[in-house]
Symmetry: C2
Subunit: 338 residues, 2 copies
């Protein structure tokens, strides 16, 4: 059996997460039991939600156990099978975790999904045609429910989720405005993804300046906001919301590393009759087929673009993950292992 | 024509509103034109939303014009009519404002509504069977959507809106818990209105103590919250919300007089997948008939109780209104003028 490099959660962060919270080990993959398959991971997905699981606090996901392999989405190939549904060579997506190989009880429904990389690259099944893409689709279509002509704002607009939100909003006839960190990401959001405008929040360190930039890009106000960030960006967008606006709360990465960041003006929810709703895409599995059909078609036909930051080798995962939390990635953050 | 005492908005408050913001004047009521009726007000309704209209800021309602009669709901009697739809002696509810009489163009749909005080006292049409009651009904049934067995919390639980929320929640098979200021109000909420528990927020000046009291009263968490207050009470209840909880934001009286009060932990909206939605009942007129039918039936049959604080004479309105903003009322605040 091949030797399996693995990364475990070694300690919980106090404050900022760091590479020292992780530990790398190696062990032989166990022999397969009936019904199991052995998957060699080509890609590991790194996602902001993993930061929440590093804490021991009550959250939507159970905490990651200490001393265990970090959980995470993986795309790879079946290299050995004792399951009649899977053959050697099948390309599959699952939750293999931060390791090179995983042994999967493939009879459990949903744990391993065969995918076709003829028209869609394998890595995209961890991004735009996977969990992040469905997250964008669900929050936008089920919570924001934008109508053509409305203004949709999305934070972390060049990221795995945000890039899909902005393009899906454009496809629905909306004005779409992104927020991203730095001129390169903003240029990409407008020139490549086709959004109407993008605000570099790093160029607006104070609240008034950020508000003014947003006002300039959203002259008719904001009808829908897809929130990935929280903190002062949420404060600014909230001030631009139109009556009956909808806010899908997908992430609040600004507060993941430390104390909660207060919301400055909650009374705007009342005065503007806003709906603000949090969601987690894994609780809406019934919507995945419709979402994946639309996303897959758009990607295969080149109408939905995405970008990836690819770190090389499993050993690079902790550093790449810390970078993701600081916005150092550009598009979907992956680790390539083969 | 009778002499008409009126109260005008004389100046806008900076910080707390005070009686000096109002001015009393007197003028003869004008002669009626065709289609008009003259209404003598028996009761004036005082409501927290009026505080927002005293400011010149963008809000859901246009600001109250300076030098004009303060707007407000009134219940009274037609004493002169040049409109075939209304006869002298008809009991009517409208938006007559802070004055003893009003001349109403009664042909405009919705401006004047005939009511029957045989089974329901006239004053109740300004409270439980009026705008505050419909506010309770709408926020509870359309935004909170409580299911039997769920826990519903309501702030300002002895007030015009809150008292209806709690009793409607009980009627739907929920556990209902109120928050009110002082032991008398809390006793009333439990013993008279029949809620399961009531927390005297004044007895819990610090956040930890308030949270602990709430935890004791809501051992299984909170599924629905009807918000009338905001500030630290919202912070405490938010910390007790269960996954998929719903918060109807009806009022945030804690911040009406000054600076916005921040929300301490907005990330709970995400981690608990909450829906938080603001609303204004006057934008949902299509729901009023159903609401008034249920509320009227419950009041007429004694199943929906309410309490009134009645100030005597129009001249007492400013002081009574300032008292309302500080929670000095006990139940629906009215001014009796006859």
């Amino acid at each position: 059996m091949p030797e399996n490099q693995q990364i475990l959660l070694d300690s919980r962060p106090s404050g900022e997460a760091s590479v020292s919270n992780f530990r790398r080990v190696s062990s032989a993959t166990p022999a397969l039991q009936d019904g199991q398959v052995l998957v060699r991971h080509h890609y590991l997905s790194l996602d902001p939600y993993m930061r929440g699981r590093m804490n021991d606090a009550k959250s939507y996901a159970p905490p990651q156990a200490l001393g265990q392999v970090m959980g995470g989405g993986t795309a790879g190939e079946v290299i050995e099978s004792k399951n009649s549904q899977f053959s050697v060579g099948d390309q599959v997506v699952g939750m293999g975790g931060w390791q090179q190989y995983s042994v999967v009880d493939a009879n459990q429904p949903g744990v391993l999904r065969k995918v076709d990389s003829a028209q869609i690259p394998l890595s995209a099944y961890l991004g735009t045609v996977g969990m992040p893409g469905v997250t964008a689709w669900y929050g936008l279509t089920k919570i924001c429910e934008p109508r053509a002509g409305e203004a949709v704002v999305v934070s972390a607009a060049s990221g795995a989720v945000g890039s899909a939100v902005g393009q899906l909003a454009k496809a629905r006839g909306c004005r779409a405005v992104g927020l991203a960190g730095g001129p390169d990401k903003c240029r990409y959001v407008v020139e490549e993804l086709g959004l109407d405008a993008c605000i570099d929040y790093k160029a607006h360190p104070d609240a008034r300046s950020l508000y003014n930039a947003l006002k300039e890009s959203t002259p008719a106000g904001v009808d829908c906001y897809f929130e990935n960030v929280g903190g002062r960006i949420l404060d600014a967008v909230l001030s631009r919301m139109n009556a009956f606006g909808r806010i899908a709360v997908c992430g609040m990465i600004a507060g993941y590393d430390g104390q909660p960041v207060p919301l400055a003006q909650p009374q705007l929810i009342l005065t503007n009759r806003l709906k603000m709703q949090g969601f987690i895409v894994s609780e809406h599995m019934e919507d995945w087929p419709a979402a994946l059909t639309e996303l897959g078609t758009l990607v295969a036909t080149g109408k939905l673009k995405f970008r990836e930051s690819v770190a090389q080798g499993l050993e690079s995962a902790p550093q790449a993950f810390i970078g993701l939390l600081k916005g150092k990635n550009f598009g979907k953050q992956l680790v390539k292992m083969i």
